[in-house]
Subunit: 420 residues, 2 copies
């Protein structure tokens, strides 16, 4: 490789809001997205919320010349909604489906049915190994997100998905950490459904060492504060934004370079509620377009090692906070398990009582009428109990992993302190 | 590191058959297992089917002096049953829960409730990075395994878990491939529930390049053919072994060295249906005890590259077979989805009919009596339909990944052929 080697990488990310029967102007928006991607000629286009596999196939056909490589990440009952189009050959593909994905009985939220995941593509570009990740972390209504931000401690209980998002952020961080050990450059794009300062987001960035393109770019062009859901977008209602009338930033381009490479974000452009070439937006989220530059050599602007003393203590702080949040989640899951088990037990007793009543003459018809809802109650409560049992186990697993990393980070900190 | 560097690694693997309320002499066996592990002083003890977390805690306490590091891999509703005890500090921990884990309505098989998984430990031993994996692949009754082996094509339909095991083997292979890129030595121990020649087993070994300790060892001591479930074990019934009266080999120690290291298996010892120090066995499976030796330098006995032309064509063959098996699985899953959807639809129509009947006088009592089982039928069939929809999606994902690897392997083969 030449000493003055430089690789320019143009990346596109969009949560497409492509939900059959629900999203407005779906076909038209997907068609215009295809046209736009063909015109702009990116290296990589990473898309979320493409819930219709037909739409992916349509795009694949439309983009075949400019982006010969494409992949749709299947998962869950509906799908992960993730897909990718690449100008360069994809060497390897892998995906991880998050263990905790919301609650099956919250049908209207849909998370459990989607199988939210993170997809990995390995590309070899001019000798550089690039691991590109695309993800979509569990939904939270903007109202919930906002409550959480505005009244962090007081309203934390209201955000029922907070613990799941922290667990997902940890699984995402672990997946990136363990699968990118031989990568030269790591890129993560996606809708994290988290504000930049949220616990899961901090955990992800602190543990993986990924940098936020918005914070690091030399040239940003887009809405103030880098918002990716804004009031100017005609598909976004004021209700969606809640107490953040101007917008929220929940979509990200994150990156880092490893092993003797240096990466910087030359430009980051975000759409401003309109289609870049006319007036109708491509989605209810804004698209992110980053131009990254990969070069040889040590970091120019950030000469400190990735996990120096300051980084370690900051990692310890966020690990501790996540550990505590998971503890609360485990306690909640156990409470629901116990409650649903009691209800199942009581329901079974009630069924026995109904059987006794049905054998007599007095209340036979009432007993038969009540039989059906009682069986439903027992089965429903049993399922809820099993679900929360599994939730407690999964959260316990994440907590144990965090505990282990926390122990190692503290050891490293003690070692540094004793040396200095 | 010295040029004559050599690392000796003593590894223990056992499927412990530690199922509360089911397994015989559980407490006694676990106690004796603890004593044995303390006496033998292994580097690593990797255990499967430790379904009781209390038993893990008991062992952790008992082994704390000799094996200061331990981890229990939590997952699913019941747990993964996997745990590990290590004489050396564990640097990193990670786990992957298999996406397909049997069928929830096959309650008596229990697989779906367990959350079968693969656990990863990263150890640093004298400068060598060791990735140790422990797993337990979905059950199949021995009868099913045997049918599959004896009447491979004819009885394939009877082994309902075959496709799931192939999918799990692929997920295992992918997990190892993507997480071990910077490891010097890779070790996989576990109960694969597959015979050495079974499709999943071949897929795993061909894709990862792992070697089977039983086939490679210089000194084997144990039952003929390396069987790990044998008739001499008093906990194994003739029915368990089916048409293989002498035994089956389904537990493995697999390994490989990467990046300038060479690994060999000096000795492999398997228990012979008795406890090594007295007469009662530790489990219904036999324990595997391997002594591995890691040295610097290129392979001594196997100078060909890991994926030479012969290996590539062998990989292509097994990838093709797995791809076809997954195709059959997808067709089956789609058939069940369609069937269950029809039943759900018919059940809904029947419910409407019952409502009409209940409003009249003639058959009100019959209608009310039939209401409960009909609701159950609709809900049950709906759940089965959703489950198989998710099954088809997951199998489709694995098939797409296989397709991608198959394409790359063919490209490599064509490239080699055109060069020669």
């Amino acid at each position: 490789m030449k000493p003055n080697f430089s690789l320019r990488l143009r990346v596109f990310n969009l949560n497409c809001w492509d939900i059959p029967y629900v999203s407005k102007h779906r076909a038209d928006r997907i068609e215009r997205l295809g046209d736009f991607l063909n015109t702009e000629n990116f290296d990589l286009a990473l898309l979320e919320e493409v819930w219709s596999e037909q739409d992916f196939q349509y795009l694949r056909q439309k983009l075949a010349v400019i982006y010969p490589a494409a992949h749709y990440f299947k998962s869950g009952i509906i799908g992960s909604g993730l897909c990718v189009f690449s100008k360069h050959p994809i060497q390897e593909i892998c995906q991880h489906i998050y263990t905790l994905n919301g609650y099956p009985y919250m049908i209207h939220h849909g998370d459990w049915f989607c199988g939210k995941a993170v997809g990995l593509l390995v590309l070899h570009l001019s000798g550089v190994v690039l691991n590109a990740y695309v993800t979509h972390v569990s939904e939270a209504s903007s109202a919930q997100l906002c409550c959480m931000r505005l009244h962090a401690e007081y309203n934390r209980q209201k955000d029922i998905y907070l613990t799941h998002r922290v667990a997902q952020a940890w699984e995402l961080a672990q997946f990136i950490h363990h699968t990118s050990k031989k990568a030269d450059v790591v890129l993560l794009c996606g809708d994290l459904n988290m504000h930049p300062g949220d616990l899961g987001c901090c955990l992800l960035k602190e543990y993986t060492g990924l940098h936020d393109a918005y914070l690091k770019t030399q040239d940003f062009n887009g809405p103030e504060e880098g918002y990716t859901m804004i009031k100017q977008n005609c598909y976004v209602s004021q209700q969606d934004l809640g107490p953040f009338p101007f917008g929220i930033r929940i979509d990200y381009v994150l990156y880092k370079a490893v092993s003797g490479f240096y990466i910087s974000c030359k430009t980051l452009k975000t759409t401003t509620g309109h289609h870049p070439h006319n007036d109708t937006p491509l989605s209810d989220h804004e698209a992110l377009m980053a131009t990254l530059c990969v070069r040889h050599g040590p970091p120019e602007q950030d000469p400190s090692p990735p996990h120096g003393p300051a980084e370690t203590s900051s990692l310890i702080r966020v690990l501790r906070e996540a550990w505590m949040e998971l503890g609360l989640g485990i306690a909640r899951a156990r409470w629901w398990t116990a409650f649903a088990s009691y209800v199942t037990g009581l329901g079974l007793l009630f069924l026995v009582l109904l059987c006794v009543l049905a054998t007599g003459e007095g209340a036979r018809e009432v007993a038969i009428l009540l039989w059906s809802p009682s069986v439903g109650l027992v089965l429903g409560a049993g399922a809820v109990s099993l679900f929360h049992m599994q939730e407690a186990k999964s959260l316990g697993r994440v907590q144990a992993e965090l505990q282990h990393v926390l122990g190692k980070a503290k050891e490293a900190q003690d070692c540094t302190q004793s040396l200095s």
